[in-house]
């Protein structure tokens, strides 16, 4: 969604063409992200020939401030949906930055790894908006990601297993 998409596209801006094909997954309720992604990829195609990407939508796991119990149900539903998608894509690398959408996808990728089907590297970058506290996605994925990147020193102190590279968006 919105700010997350802008941030993640900035993260991608300096990646080499080895990071291809790129599979974007976002919430079905998200109207603006598709346009931003297409615009980014179009610009990229001007520099790199043979630029490949796909777009997929999954049900939104959780609305802002949705209650705990109903969040568990909607997240489970999103996992059921993202599991076959992740299986189809079999990513080598999962990069995410915090929208609720990333939790079911990461869980699916973890399951695929546990089942011996495909082991992906999971990299989580917490939003630049998070200076002192982690988002809910961050709190969950801090334990399940391979690399957890924060953008402010206070978070590095609170979460010692995280990686601090300074501001990267």
């Amino acid at each position: 969604t919105g700010g997350h998409t802008t941030e993640i596209l900035r993260l991608l801006s300096c990646l080499s063409e080895s990071y291809s094909p790129r599979h974007y997954i976002f919430a079905d309720s998200d109207e603006m992200s598709e346009a931003k992604i297409r615009s980014f990829e179009q610009k990229r195609a001007e520099t790199f020939s043979n630029s490949q990407f796909t777009l997929d939508r999954i049900p939104r796991s959780r609305e802002v401030r949705q209650s705990w119990t109903s969040s568990v149900v909607t997240t489970l539903y999103s996992i059921l949906y993202s599991l076959p998608l992740t299986y189809k894509l079999k990513p080598d690398l999962v990069l995410c930055n915090g929208p609720g959408t990333c939790v079911p996808v990461c869980i699916s990728a973890l399951l695929l790894g546990l089942l011996g089907i495909k082991r992906a590297i999971i990299v989580y970058v917490e939003s630049i908006c998070r200076v002192e506290t982690l988002s809910l996605s961050g709190k969950i994925l801090y334990y399940f990601s391979d690399y957890f990147i924060v953008q402010w020193p206070a978070l590095k102190e609170k979460y010692p297993k995280s990686v601090y590279l300074g501001r990267i968006v």
């Binding site: 802008t6 900035r10 080895s18 990299v123 970058v125 300074g166």
Partner: protein
């Protein structure tokens, strides 16, 4: 105006921006090098949205007030005290990721 696709043009022409504490608004403004006064409405906002505004204020990049102190802030502000906001460095992320996945 609420749903304008991009404020880039308006930002470019502005001498001063007065904004809510949304991260996107703050960062977009600071990146264009415009002085920014952030107005906080604690009643409306998620606490976490304040984190970034507070940090930007601590680092001297923005001025900061609430609705009731806005006029006073505008009257007494000294914009020369604001420090420029350096851009983020996604190239550092790219370097890190290359090492992690083994492209070097």
């Amino acid at each position: 105006f609420r749903f304008k696709e991009s404020l880039a043009e308006d930002l470019r022409r502005a001498d001063l921006v007065i904004s809510h504490a949304g991260a996107g608004s703050c960062l977009e403004t600071l990146e264009k090098g415009k002085p920014l006064v952030v107005v906080i409405n604690e009643k409306l906002m998620n606490n976490h949205q304040l984190e970034l505004a507070k940090q930007l204020h601590r680092d001297g990049h923005v001025l900061y007030c609430n609705c009731s102190t806005l006029v006073e802030t505008l009257q007494s502000m000294d914009l020369s005290t604001l420090k420029p906001f350096p851009p983020g460095q996604p190239e550092k992320f790219a370097l890190f990721l290359d090492k992690v996945v083994g492209f070097q």
